[in-house]
């Protein structure tokens, strides 16, 4: 194992850790604008990690992936979200169902679970980035946790998108990226989804006068 | 396959039943009168009454239907059939295979249903009351009677009355405890079925207590005559059945006239004793309230079942 590879592996691990850290930061963030910014940083970190993988493995399509990530996750989506927040005049505070420290504790538990679950797979991995699979899983789970705990629509969507980041990290780190067709498709879906969501926000606002999803609890059976 | 002697015996048995039945009723009435220190009516009093009733016009209620008019005949027919198949004198009865002991119970049941329906026909309060009570007595008495018959049938391995009687008459003199139970149950059922004290009182006309009389309140003339006759036939049939089952001695077997001739006095003697005892029972017992009647009959039913159990447990494969 040559030094460069080990160096790039270290870099990738660094970025992965950064992504995990950002995921935690998002979980803890109380301001919606900051949340979106954190999401953008996460996208950037993701892009960089992909780039490192691309450089170190020489997989050309990973450059494309990196570019796409940068464009979509770090620039376009945060921009859309920013605009939405301003247009919709969302209250800047983010309310959480459970208080932040508890959420963080649960988050740490989840990371342990994720590591535990991913451990046997990491053992198998021959790629340079085998540890990142566990981190990707942890990021997915943290994003999941965020979606559960947030009561407003926009943070929930940010959580959703963060989950996509986690998935993307898994895809690049564990497997050097999915086939290009698939990645394009995924990117398209995410984009369309985000746009539809944007349209949705306006409709929800119109109907409920708020983006607080706690208003949307009328359809139930009990 | 029906022998001449059998045929004659059969006709003779029916004729005897028809003749003897009212006398038996008269005899019981006489005995009762004696027991109660009354002047007894003549022995043939029932005959006089039948004759009188046959002569009278039938007075029908406006609401009476054809069922009301046919019921006396049906009941009478049932009783004649019952008498025809009970081996009072002889076990050589060509009609006997027509109905075994179970069918005999059925015959009584048929008669009971008809008389109850007839009682309900006119639509008076007492009629329906009587019909209901009769059915009440019936549904309790009938299973008890069936159980008695079951016990006996298990001893004889047959439900044919004649076979039972033959078996019982011929057995070694063994004490069958089950027979005792069955006998008591049978007596109780007979009392109830024949509208006797303590379940009913044939002599009463106090409306709220009567059963049989309440049912036939609307009957008159020949219809009443037939019903009264049928009632005495029923008493006769039960008596003969009881005597045949529990005291089967002296009943003629085979196709000999001599046996038949000997059987008649035996029967008359046994009936006389039976009638006397019946009158005694009726005298020393008080009539039960109608709602005690189920208890009485329930006891009979239990005794009969007990008899069956005793039979099964103690006498095993005897």
């Amino acid at each position: 194992m040559s030094a460069t590879i080990s160096f790039s592996a270290q870099l990738i691990n660094l970025f992965a850790a950064l992504i995990l850290l950002l995921a935690f930061a998002m979980l803890a963030q109380r301001r919606v604008m900051q949340l979106i910014n954190l999401f953008a940083y996460q996208g950037l970190a993701l892009c960089l990690s992909t780039l490192v993988v691309a450089v170190s493995t020489g997989q050309t399509h990973l450059y494309w992936s990196a570019g796409l990530t940068l464009l979509l996750k770090a620039l376009l989506l945060p921009w859309i979200l920013h605009r939405l927040v301003r247009r919709l005049q969302v209250k800047w505070d983010v309310e959480s169902l459970i208080n932040i420290p508890t959420t963080m504790l649960v988050g740490i538990g989840l990371v342990i679970v994720a590591f535990n679950v991913a451990h046997p797979i990491s053992e198998l991995s021959s790629t340079i980035t085998r540890g990142t699979l566990a981190i990707a899983l942890a990021v997915v789970m943290l994003a999941f946790l965020m979606m559960i705990t947030r009561t407003k629509a926009i943070p929930q969507v940010v959580g959703f998108l963060a989950m996509e980041n986690g998935l993307f990290l898994a895809a690049t780190s564990a497997t050097y990226g999915m086939p290009m067709v698939v990645e394009l498709g995924i990117a398209l879906d995410v984009l369309v989804g985000a746009i539809i969501l944007g349209v949705f926000f306006f409709q929800i606002r119109e109907q409920f006068d708020s983006l607080d999803i706690r208003h949307m609890e009328r359809l139930k059976d009990n | 396959m029906i022998s001449i002697s059998g045929l004659i015996g059969q006709i003779f048995a029916i004729a005897l039943a028809l003749l003897l039945a009212p006398v038996l009723s008269g005899w019981v009435g006489q005995c009762r009168a004696w027991f109660q220190n009354r002047t007894a009516p003549p022995l043939l009093q029932p005959y006089y009454m039948l004759h009188k009733l046959f002569h009278k016009d039938v007075v029908l209620a406006h609401g009476a239907s054809s069922l009301f008019r046919s019921a006396p005949f049906v009941v009478f027919g049932c009783m004649v059939l019952a008498c025809a198949i009970i081996p009072a004198l002889s076990t050589d009865l060509p009609l006997a295979p027509a109905a075994d002991a179970l069918a005999l119970v059925g015959v009584f049941g048929l008669a009971r249903v008809f008389i109850s329906l007839a009682a309900m026909d006119v639509g008076t309060s007492f009629g329906t009351l009587g019909g209901r009570r009769e059915m009440l007595v019936g549904f309790l008495a009938e299973p008890a009677l069936l159980m008695v018959i079951f016990t006996l049938a298990m001893i004889a391995q047959s439900t044919s009355v004649t076979t039972i009687v033959e078996t019982l008459a011929h057995r070694e003199f063994l004490v069958f405890p089950s027979l005792a139970f069955a006998g008591i149950a049978f007596t109780m059922v007979s009392l109830a079925e024949n509208a006797r004290v303590p379940v009913d009182n044939p002599a009463t006309h106090l409306e709220l207590t009567m059963i049989h009389e309440a049912m036939i309140l609307e009957y008159s003339g020949r219809h009443l005559a037939l019903i009264e006759w049928a009632a005495s036939l029923k008493l006769y049939a039960y008596s003969c059945l009881g005597l045949a089952l529990f005291f089967p001695w002296g009943i003629a077997e085979g196709e000999r006239f001599s046996g038949l001739l000997l059987a008649i006095p035996m029967l008359v003697l046994k009936l006389a004793i039976g009638g006397f005892l019946l009158a005694g029972i009726e005298t020393i017992n008080a009539k039960l309230r109608i709602f005690r009647a189920p208890e009485f009959l329930g006891t009979a039913f239990m005794l009969a079942v007990l008899g069956l159990l005793v039979r099964l447990m103690l006498e095993g494969s005897a």
């Binding site: 979606m147 559960i148 | 059925g106 639509g123 044919s160 099964l312």
Partner: protein, 669 residues
């Protein structure tokens, strides 16, 4: 083309019924066409079915395989003697009912006549297919079609809430029962994957699985037959249905359940354990006693009959239990006796119960009244119906010389020999069961006297009854046909038994026919004349002769004068219709004696009541013991379950999350 085998004819008959039903859709509103053309045609087909089945009895089985069905399991059909007996029952009973229905159905508020005709004929065809089916799938399809079509018939007059409720309860229990039957078939198939009955016969199940199959079948078929405690639909559905439908359900459909039980327990299940019989015996006894007691206290004439059907089914199942016990101990002759009682009672009950239900139909048409408390004295206005009903009543009460007595007699006879059983306590307990059977029979008499006496006898309890009219010609013909069947079954038992004996023979390997043929056709002596015998014809002739002779003699010797006058009032001046015993009053002794068996709600007036009234309501214990708790349980569980759907998206996400987490942590391979 080869000759037409009986099975082909039966199949064609089933198709003909379907075709007749579909023909009704051409003009669904045309009552005349449907009632006067299609129903009589259906009756003709029924006659054909009956005759073919009758002619087939004694032949060796025939099979057929149709093209339709599941891919690897086309419909297998088989005509054997057991099938033939029940097909005969179906055919002959349906003749009477169809003819009656031709006169009965008229333009009403309920389903269109065409739809009704379709449902009715599908019902008939599916019953025939149930009998013919020779594989699990065909059987289940026919079975559920039968349930479905009869459900639709029950809810013909669907505007009434209680009728819909009755139909719902019926279909629900039928469906649950059907699933039980299906599972029973599943067990019987065991590992083979062969769902034909032939495949099931070839299986050798362990006692455990065989018992499971048997019990499932008992539950499944019991639900259809009305065994306690899954009987509750029966007294609801029968009164709700139009009378011909009640007649068909009670007379024929319940028998298909008996058929199924016989098919499973004797034919398909190879092994037999004595306790199966004990279970059937016990369930049957409870059912019979329960049915008859409730039948005596009913105030609705059709409910009364419905409970009486429960009682009869109970007796039939008692017979099946007895047969199973004898069969398990290889006492085949006695088993044959009990089996004959079972089959005979099926036939007898089909005849007299459909007769009685049809009579209630006529009464209902004439008076618009089902409640016994508002009927009475109809014998004057409807003599035909009354006298024909009397035949049914006598048969139903189990009295000689009609059909009900024969089967009861056979059943009691078979009880009489149960002490021969080798099992130490069985031989004692079983004969005592006969005591209960006797009690049931006697109580049936009580119920039937109440039924007939209150409806047809006495004074009319409502003035409107004066306008009642007798049944029409079609109805009379239908009723008379069934009464004739009842009579024939009553007086020709030996002839009938020697025909249906083929089925007994098929199931048990022995029959009664040889014994019977030794004696004359008029005598029924299943073992030997010395042991037991019954000659209903002679019986009937004797009574009839005495009757006629007596009448002739009385008129000859005395006179036949009659005077009419008012009934004697016993000194009470008011003797109007209200003074008669009511239906409640009639059954008061039963309520009093057996009060533990009922759930009574009584209101008795006191002396100080300004508006005194009396009411008594009899309810089924099982509602409170079984069904309501069950309903509450389901409701409670669904309350808990629906709490899952709380409307909060965060919680939903949490479910997904926890599921994922749980699987990741727990369900690792």
């Amino acid at each position: 083309m080869s000759t037409l085998l009986p099975i082909d004819i039966l199949l064609i008959a089933a198709c003909a019924w379907l075709a007749i039903g579909l023909a009704g859709l051409v003009a669904p509103g045309n009552t005349r066409f449907i009632a006067k053309t299609l129903f009589p045609l259906g009756a003709l087909v029924g006659m054909l079915v009956g005759l073919v089945a009758l002619g087939f009895l004694g032949e060796s089985p025939e099979t057929a395989v149709l093209v339709v069905g599941l891919p690897d399991l086309p419909f297998h059909l088989r005509l054997d003697n057991l099938t033939a007996v029940f097909a005969m029952l179906l055919g002959f009973t349906s003749v009477g009912i169809s003819i009656y229905a031709a006169g009965y159905f008229r333009q009403g508020q309920g389903s269109a006549p065409g739809v009704l005709g379709l449902e009715y004929h599908v019902f008939l065809a599916s019953m025939l297919l149930v009998l013919l089916a020779d594989d699990a799938y065909a059987f289940m399809v026919a079975w559920e079609s039968m349930a479905l079509s009869s459900f639709l018939l029950v809810t013909t007059d669907h505007r009434h809430e209680e009728i819909r409720r009755a139909g719902f309860l019926y279909l629900l229990i039928a469906h649950v029962g059907a699933i039980a039957i299906l599972l029973s078939f599943g067990v019987m198939t065991s590992g083979s994957g062969d769902y034909t009955f032939a495949g099931m016969r070839a299986q050798h199940l362990s006692p455990f699985w065989a018992s499971a199959a048997y019990l499932l079948a008992l539950v499944g078929f019991g639900a259809k037959a009305g065994l306690v405690p899954i009987h509750v639909w029966l007294p609801e559905a029968h009164p709700a249905a139009p009378s011909p439908v009640s007649a068909m359900m009670s007379g024929v459909m319940l028998k298909t359940a008996i058929y199924g039980l016989l098919r499973v327990s004797f034919d398909l299940l190879g092994s037999d354990l004595w306790w199966w019989g004990v279970v059937a015996l016990a369930v049957g006894l409870v059912t019979a006693l329960f049915g008859v007691l409730y039948s005596t206290v009913q105030n609705d004439m059709k409910r009364l009959l419905a409970y009486s059907s429960i009682e009869n089914i109970g007796l039939i199942v008692v017979g099946i239990g007895l047969t199973l016990i004898f069969h398990a101990y290889r006492m085949e002759a006695l088993a044959a006796l009990a089996m004959t009682a079972v089959l005979y009672h099926c036939l007898a009950h089909a005849g007299f119960k459909s007769l009685l239900f049809l009579c209630t139909g006529s009464v209902l048409h004439a008076t618009k009244e089902r409640s016994l408390g508002k009927l009475g004295g109809l014998i004057h206005r409807m003599p035909w119906v009354a006298w024909l009903a009397l035949a049914g009543v006598i048969a139903s009460a189990g009295l000689p010389p009609l059909s009900g007595f024969v089967s009861e007699w056979l059943l009691l006879q078979s009880f009489l020999f149960s002490p021969g059983l080798p099992h130490p306590w069985l031989n004692m307990v079983v004969p005592v069961a006969a005591a209960l059977v006797a009690l049931v029979a006697a109580l049936a008499g009580f119920a039937m006297v109440k039924f007939f006496g209150i409806i047809f006898l006495g004074q009319m309890r409502e003035p409107a009854l004066k306008d009642a009219h007798d049944a029409g010609t079609w109805e009379k013909v239908g009723l008379s046909w069934l009464a004739l069947l009842t009579l024939l079954l009553g007086i020709l038992p030996s002839t009938v038994i020697s025909r249906i004996d083929a089925a007994t023979h098929q199931l048990l390997g022995v029959g009664l026919a040889d014994k019977l043929n030794e004696q004359g056709w008029w005598m029924l002596a299943p073992i030997s004349p010395e042991r037991a015998s019954y000659e209903p014809l002679i019986f009937l002739v004797t009574i009839a002769a005495t009757l006629l002779l007596g009448r002739w003699l009385v008129r000859r010797l005395y006179h036949g004068r009659v005077r009419r006058t008012a009934a004697w009032d016993c000194g009470y001046w008011f003797q109007g219709p209200r003074a008669q015993d009511t239906a409640e009053g009639f059954s008061q002794p039963i309520r009093r004696i057996f009060d533990v068996m009922f759930r009574l709600e009584m209101h008795l007036p006191t002396a100080r009541d300004s508006k005194p009234y009396y009411s008594v309501k009899v309810e089924d214990h099982f509602w409170y013991w079984l069904y309501l708790p069950l309903a509450r349980l389901v409701s409670a569980v669904s309350g808990l379950v629906t709490a899952v759907q709380g409307g909060r998206i965060a919680v939903y996400l949490l479910y997904s999350f926890l599921t994922l987490l749980g699987l990741l942590l727990v369900a690792r391979p």
